[in-house]
């Protein structure tokens, strides 16, 4: 049996259902909208598990589901050493979002990462503490800034409403996922001109240890070759 983990609500769930439907596999919720049980038609030996998108990486790595749909951002952030446990089967073409760094738009002197490094240094000298970046993507942001040799900053944890932290004086900059940038603009924030930390999209993953004839057959049916 292949247990397939799919985000349990919203656009991500609908688009995942559509993606599978286009490949002849019908996923649906059984019973009411409030019930997190699902059914699979069009293929044998696959069961549907509806989960919060944020839990899918962990469940995949633990082997409690064999396949799962989630954003690359969540896998890369939450699973250190993810390539040892998971296989990336197919990018699915929706749920696009970039992990970016944004600064107050009023900072006219800060457009790229070099500016940002210089501003961080000045800020630390002026205020006696490191410039704060609010984010929930600690590992990805830290690795990115280490690679680009930015110092003099600190990360502060923000699990939601991250765009508001600058106005609330709990951070000087943010690192977050954005698709259109509209929320950033509304909060007077501007994206730094640099490659995004990560370009994320909804992706079909499998547990590495769960690969076998049964999964190969399913992937062939989906038009994917593992």
């Amino acid at each position: 049996m292949i247990r397939l983990g799919v985000p349990s609500k919203g656009r991500l769930m609908e688009q995942t259902f559509e993606w599978f439907a286009e490949r002849g596999v019908t996923l649906s919720r059984s019973g009411s909208d409030r019930e997190y049980a699902g059914r699979v038609d069009g293929v044998d030996g696959v069961s549907l598990v509806l989960l919060s998108a944020g839990e899918i990486p962990r469940e995949l790595a633990a082997g409690r589901i064999e396949m799962g749909v989630t954003g690359t951002d969540l896998v890369h952030e939450k699973l250190a050493g993810w390539k040892s446990d998971l296989v990336e089967l197919a990018p699915m073409g929706f749920g696009h979002a970039d992990l970016i760094i944004a600064v107050p738009d009023c900072w006219r002197d800060c457009t790229d990462l070099d500016d940002f490094a210089a501003v961080a240094r000045d800020f630390r000298a002026e205020h006696g503490f490191r410039l704060r970046i609010a984010t929930k993507y600690h590992r990805l942001v830290r690795a990115f800034l280490a690679r680009h040799e930015v110092a003099d900053y600190q990360l502060v944890d923000s699990q939601g409403a991250t765009e508001g932290t600058v106005a609330n004086l709990t951070a000087e900059a943010i690192a977050d996922i954005t698709s259109s940038g509209a929320t950033l603009q509304a909060n007077n924030l501007r994206i730094l001109q640099t490659d995004p930390i990560l370009r994320s999209q909804a992706t079909l993953f499998a547990n590495r240890a769960a690969q076998g004839p049964q999964m190969s057959a399913f992937l062939t049916q989906l038009g994917l070759t593992a």
Partner: protein, 353 residues
């Protein structure tokens, strides 16, 4: 696989040697307040140290390093000069990136260390000779450098104070340093600062931005650094040779860069003091850039002992950290130099000998 007991025995032997060298044993807490460590090391340490929360004491850290608590203890109450030694566990997370390594490194391991707070200029040689005596029998190669040499070289460039400060601040970040050198060595294109209707937001003040813009505009009028200085600096940073050959090369560089002459004289004196303690300088590699890849708090002499083992960290390492005592000393400061040995690696070398 070598057990903790065996490693502990090696550690005790090193500790005894440190005590024989005049050090008082000190036993810092394992659970340390996170704040001063975080402020000192920045995010790098948060990625590598185990941080936990105490309901009363706040954010705490499993000891990632001995130097900071030892310096804090000395600055609180120590007399001068002082020699301290210690033996205990260090805790470090290993974030493996995207792929798990086949042989992950230990998350807890022993360090035996010696810290020397003294105004005696001979302190570097005393510490190095002590470590050399304990570690070189295992076939480890000694490397040494001097961050003061590099910092003096940067300070001596014909640059504005702003530019020199930016360079020395980033001396531990080679990519950023090289980009700054390139920028300072070519004419600065006039920069446009975009207009915005956005309201002011955040703790950075409008005044801070205005001052930075003024600095950038003034900087645009500064003449580029002549290429010969980049060439000299590159030559200095690339100097890596057995100590007896490095010295004449340093003197030659000092002819072109007078600012490094005092540092070169210090290095020559230090090498002589090391040789006077019966150590063969031919076996020591002087690497001008040695300190650039180590901890950021070393600001003078640096050294490490490296075994010929693929993927191993240094068996022993250390250096001078005068500025750290100033940062942690709350107004007091004292020259300090110290280092650590990893008993676990010594135990492995002994077992495979």
């Amino acid at each position: 696989m070598i057990g903790k007991r065996e490693k502990q025995i090696v550690g005790q032997r090193l500790l005894a040697a440190f005590r024989d060298a005049g050090a008082a044993e000190i036993a810092p807490d394992i659970l340390l307040p996170a704040e001063s460590l975080l402020d000192l090391y920045g995010e790098d340490i948060r990625a590598r140290a185990y941080v936990t929360a105490d309901p009363i004491r706040g954010e705490m850290m499993l000891r990632p390093d001995f130097t900071v608590p030892v310096v804090q203890a000395h600055m609180e109450s120590g007399a001068e000069p002082a020699r301290y030694c210690y033996l205990g566990e260090i805790f470090r997370k290993q974030d493996m990136g995207d792929t798990r390594p086949a042989n992950p490194r230990d998350n807890e391991y022993l360090q035996a260390g010696f810290e020397l707070f003294s105004r005696d200029p001979d302190a570097d040689a005393e510490l190095f000779a002590l470590f050399h005596g304990l570690v070189s029998p295992y076939g480890a190669t000694a490397h040494m450098g001097d961050m003061g040499l590099l910092l003096d070289a940067v300070a001596g460039l014909p640059l504005t104070q702003d530019r020199a400060d930016a360079l020395s601040h980033h001396i531990w970040r080679p990519g950023r340093f090289d980009r700054l050198m390139k920028r300072f060595s070519s004419p600065t294109p006039k920069r446009q600062f975009h207009d915005t209707d956005s309201a002011w937001a955040g703790m950075r003040s409008q005044d801070e931005m205005t001052r930075r813009i003024a600095r950038l505009q003034a900087d645009a009028a500064v003449a580029p650094l002549p290429a010969v200085w980049t060439e000299r600096l590159t030559r200095l940073f690339a100097l890596r040779a057995p100590a007896p050959q490095a010295l004449p090369a340093l003197h030659e560089l000092a002819d072109d860069m007078p600012a490094i002459a005092p540092a070169v004289a210090r290095i020559a004196t230090r090498m002589q003091a090391i040789a006077d303690r019966g150590i063969d300088l031919d076996g020591i590699i002087f690497d001008a850039s040695h300190g650039r890849t180590t901890l950021e708090y070393y600001d003078g002499f640096t050294f490490s002992f490296v075994a010929d083992r693929e993927g191993w960290p240094a068996i022993a390492s250390g250096g001078r950290y005068d500025a750290l005592t100033r940062v942690l000393g709350k107004g007091r400061e004292i020259p300090a130099v110290g280092g650590i040995i990893r008993p676990g690696l010594i135990a492995e070398l002994e077992a495979s000998a």
